[in-house]
């Protein structure tokens, strides 16, 4: 974990309301898939923006983000050459066990981007199937990356790109056909994760989900971004997560 001075090398729109910013860091960071960075946007914003790492390429790191409020709007306006601080890598990230050969990625919304980092880390080593749900054709992004998976199923809520269904339905449909993974890794809106957990619990499949929550410090000190565990305790999304075993977390 280091507070890098990051220089914007590229910052562009990749889909409706979604932008990708690539920073050049002072050195190559050691990042595990599913980890995130806490981006300082400056001005009157006292909180950083925790955003999942999408790609690492040498000293360059790419984050994809949805324009949601003033902070991400400000990030969007940062031109090439702008320098800002990025504290990273943060959180635990996704791990695939040696024995798990077949990996299913289930993602929706901005949750698709940490899954790209999984794909990039494990491509070639594991047999990866990606089930990705978008709102509509305009929201489709990351296709060039997901096409590197052994199987890529893209679906939309309105059927304007791929079949009309959500990512969990696409995954469940394939599961019914007998395409059973050893582990499921997922990121997306909570209702999506909840629906997925219902499927993986029934099928007795290991499933790991990456959660999102409003954060304070980003390093586990302030206890702002907690989630409920099934054992009645709380966990810190930023430090104990953002990736949790679906069986251990209340969604």
């Amino acid at each position: 974990m280091k507070d890098y001075i990051a220089t914007v090398v590229k910052n562009e729109r990749i889909a409706e309301n979604i932008h990708a910013v690539t920073f050049a860091l002072e050195e190559k960071p050691r990042v595990r898939c599913g980890q995130f960075g806490d981006i300082f946007v400056g001005g009157t914003h006292l909180l950083r923006r925790p955003i999942a790492v999408c790609k690492v390429d040498g000293k360059e790191v790419t984050f994809c983000y949805q324009i949601k409020g003033e902070g991400t709007q400000k990030l969007k306006e940062m031109g090439t050459g702008t320098k800002l601080k990025v504290l990273m890598p943060l959180g635990n990230g996704f791990f695939v066990e040696e024995t798990e050969k077949k990996v299913a990625l289930v993602g929706g919304g901005v949750g698709v981007f940490p899954l790209i980092s999984v794909l990039r880390q494990y491509a070639g080593e594991k047999e990866i199937s990606a089930y990705i749900g978008y709102r509509n054709a305009g929201a489709v992004c990351g296709v060039d990356e997901f096409e590197k998976a052994d199987k890529f199923v893209a679906v939309t809520d309105d059927g304007s790109y791929g079949e009309k269904m959500n990512a969990v339905q696409a995954f469940a449909k394939d599961l019914e056909k007998g395409n059973r993974p050893d582990v499921v890794l997922a990121c997306g809106p909570t209702p999506m994760l909840r629906a997925l957990k219902a499927v993986t619990e029934k099928e007795n499949l290991p499933c790991f989900v990456s959660l999102e929550e409003r954060m304070g410090c980003g390093i586990g000190a302030c206890l702002v971004c907690v989630c409920d565990l099934t054992n009645g305790r709380k966990a810190r999304v930023c430090k104990d997560g953002p990736v949790f075993n679906a069986n251990e977390v209340t969604l």
Partner: protein
């Protein structure tokens, strides 16, 4: 190199910069970034007698220049702290200030008694609802400020007691005096100001608790004014806080009457805020020919005087 050390009720701090409660846990996470033994002190995450799970999420929101939080005192309980964190925190070499909270006077007595003699100082969070007075915070009225200070001091007989004042009051000077009368060895201020931020799309407050404590750069002028008023009202040392982001901010508080300062929200904006402030204090003192930073305390002269 100026002498940055300060003395608060007999406790020597390496420098006047203390991590504010609730923003720093028990120090372990920030210690992964830098040696927290270099800090003047660490005020722990608010401790209660029993473990607490805190409020539902979201617990934080942002507004221009400030943040709002309502964590709800999530903590593992004082015994867990004593068993698992205290020794580690002491070994870092920083001054350990246990921040404590309660719902009843008995809670305050009990937790202070448990920590007495084990920590360098105890800081009393009196912004908690008093279950016996219909939920009004202990820290609002001078009478309850005095009462809770007295009860806590009875528990903390051998440990300097800092009473952390709430700014959501009629007179900060009266409450400061009340804490002093109750036996406080020092006061700290300000705790957060109560606020609300609304998600206009959902027409609901952003924070699950509806209201939250406002902190950060934007509250600094209020905090400086209150630090001045409180320090004029009492003889005991004052620890100032509220929106401190850089060394120059800290110096304002010292001049207003503080002996030391606490830094909270700035730790979120820049995890190295405190080491940077300490370095900045040194540089400022050198530039201004200040040999001992303690010389700055209360040197403010009001206009027209």
């Amino acid at each position: 190199m100026a002498n940055l050390s300060v003395n608060i009720c007999g406790v020597q701090l390496k420098n006047p910069v203390i991590a504010a409660s609730g923003t720093f846990g028990f120090g372990r996470e920030f210690n992964e970034l830098y040696d927290i033994g270099t800090l003047g002190g660490v005020s722990t995450k608010g401790l209660t007698l029993e473990p607490r799970l805190g409020n539902p999420v979201p617990r934080i929101a942002e507004s221009r220049g400030v943040i709002l939080n309502a964590v709800g005192l999530q903590n593992p309980g004082v015994e867990h702290f004593i068993e698992y964190d205290l020794e580690w925190l002491k070994n870092t070499g920083t001054c350990v200030i246990a921040n404590v909270a309660g719902k009843t006077l008995d809670d305050y007595y009990g937790i202070c008694a448990k920590l007495d003699g084990k920590v360098d100082m105890i800081e009393l969070n009196i912004s908690c609802p008093n279950v016996k007075s219909g939920g009004m915070a202990f820290g609002i009225k001078p009478e309850t400020v005095e009462e809770v200070s007295r009860v806590a001091k009875n528990g903390a007989k051998n440990t300097p007691l800092i009473v952390k004042l709430s700014p959501n009051v009629e007179s900060i000077a009266e409450n400061a005096k009340a804490a002093e009368r109750g036996g406080a060895d020092a006061i700290s201020l300000i705790n957060t100001l109560t606020g609300m931020a609304i998600d206009i799309e959902r027409r609901r407050p952003i924070i699950a608790n509806n209201t939250g404590g406002v902190s950060g750069a934007g509250v600094k002028p209020i905090a400086v004014r209150m630090t001045y008023e409180a320090s004029q009202a009492v003889k005991i040392p004052v620890i100032g806080m509220g929106g401190i982001t850089c060394a120059e901010d800290a110096i304002e508080f010292l001049m207003a009457g503080a002996t030391a300062v606490q830094v909270g929200t700035a730790n979120f904006t820049d995890p190295f805020a405190m080491p940077n402030i300490i370095a900045g204090l040194n540089a400022w003192c050198d530039r201004h020919g200040v040999r001992n930073i303690s010389e700055l305390t209360g040197t403010l002269v009001l206009n027209g005087k």
